[in-house]
Symmetry: none
């Protein structure tokens, strides 16, 4: 949306998103600037909707209030729920899955609680703990060292576990979709994990909400592996025409939001 107006913008936003709620005082002490500076910087951020201000504190718009804190969980929530619903219908009881990390996958994991006897491999601790507690499921957590903002793992053992698996579907996500470049993400390790999961899976499900078809603020540059013939794309609105050619070989599922409430 709007460009940063101060050199502190990024750090403040990051800290607020991380902590959920911080007082202006606290933040000014942590960052070693006056409280007035924090206020000056945060005013435009609040106006552009990047964060919320309450008297005495700053609160993140991104962080959920619930314990499972995923930084982008509340962004486009309804779309993600609708997409999750569709994915949960594609998957049948007894299927085996590889699930990547990301907020859409977190919703899908929630929705998959309805399914039974699932075999799941994932590098997301959140997905793992969500599905492990369903009796009858068989869940493997891939990886040891967890990334601190989303609890995902990309260490060597994570790849070993994924590569050893053979699953019916892998469930992938992306930060952006581009008509020519395909699906893009920000980090190399995410691409590598997607490659590993695709190679272990008979079929891939790519889940992206409509916002991913628009240009992003922070441009992702790394290409996810190309989807294969018959792979599945799940989204909440029909993709723009520009994508028609590149999605021609895919099985596209569109879930309008009103199809699912709850």
């Amino acid at each position: 949306m709007t460009s940063p107006t101060s050199k502190y913008s990024d750090e403040i936003l990051r800290r607020v998103d991380m902590m959920g709620t911080v007082t202006v005082q606290e933040l000014s002490q942590i960052m070693g600037v006056s409280d007035q500076t924090i206020r000056r910087v945060t005013r435009p951020l609040a106006e552009s909707g990047a964060l919320s201000k309450v008297h005495g504190a700053l609160v993140s718009n991104k962080s959920a209030l619930d314990p499972p804190f995923l930084s982008r969980m509340n962004l486009n929530r309804e779309a993600k729920v609708a997409i999750a619903q569709v994915v949960a219908e594609i998957v049948k009881d007894g299927d085996s899955l590889a699930i990547d990390t990301g907020s859409t996958s977190a919703f899908i994991a929630q929705m998959l609680r309805e399914r039974r006897e699932l075999t799941v491999v994932t590098n997301s601790a959140f997905v793992a703990s969500t599905l492990a507690m369903i009796p009858g499921n068989n869940v493997s957590m891939a990886g040891t060292q967890l990334r601190d903002h989303d609890g995902a793992s990309f260490d060597r053992s994570a790849f070993q576990v994924v590569e050893r698996a053979r699953v019916d579907y892998c469930i992938l996500s992306a930060s952006m979709a581009h008509p020519d470049k395909g699906f893009l993400v920000h980090e190399q390790c995410e691409v590598e994990m997607a490659v590993a999961m695709m190679e272990s899976a008979a079929r891939s499900i790519m889940a992206v909400d409509a916002s991913k078809f628009q240009p992003q603020e922070r441009k992702p540059a790394l290409r996810q592996p190309n989807l294969r013939d018959g792979d599945i794309l799940v989204t909440d609105v029909a993709p723009p025409d520009a994508f028609r050619a590149s999605f021609a070989h895919l099985d596209v599922h569109i879930s309008s939001i009103d199809a699912k409430i709850g």
Copy 2:
């Protein structure tokens, strides 16, 4: 979702969800603000449906079925919350911890969200995902294959990760305490994990609520390793006299819910 109206909204909601039911009094003492402030803040929260108010208390709208809440977590909930509070006070920012699985440990993990810069090793996917998302924490998930009722791992890699660690505290639990036999659990793998965690830790914290001092319906038969001199026992009521001798060498912290206030 409606945006918070006060800097306390977030914390109140978290505590209410965690405790299930809290009186306004209790909350105001725990948070160090007046009861009137709690009322003022909770009124809009109740109107937006984030929690419910009844005369005398606030009650969570989160059902026990919600993902982060294990069903067993509602058993003796107050005691576990009180114990978790005490443990979270013993642990300081920057400490390193090994945390076992179990519902008490799940509460402790929730409470430890207040701490910063923690290094955590755990074989519970729930604990891992709870603490991994706190910025600045360094969390390792020990193990790959997850047990289906609680999302804990006891495979070879779990032990390898725990054995490689060196931590300030390990946080352990038990199904029952016996004056002569010590702390007992149901499964051998839990004992082995406790041994591994104790060996990796400078000091151990055993967290058991009062119900564990009574005979259990399903008798656990396997003995946890003996606690060492100066190890810490956290419980919610003073143990019966029969335990006096066996706890003599321990640093016993008792947090009765009312004693803790003030």
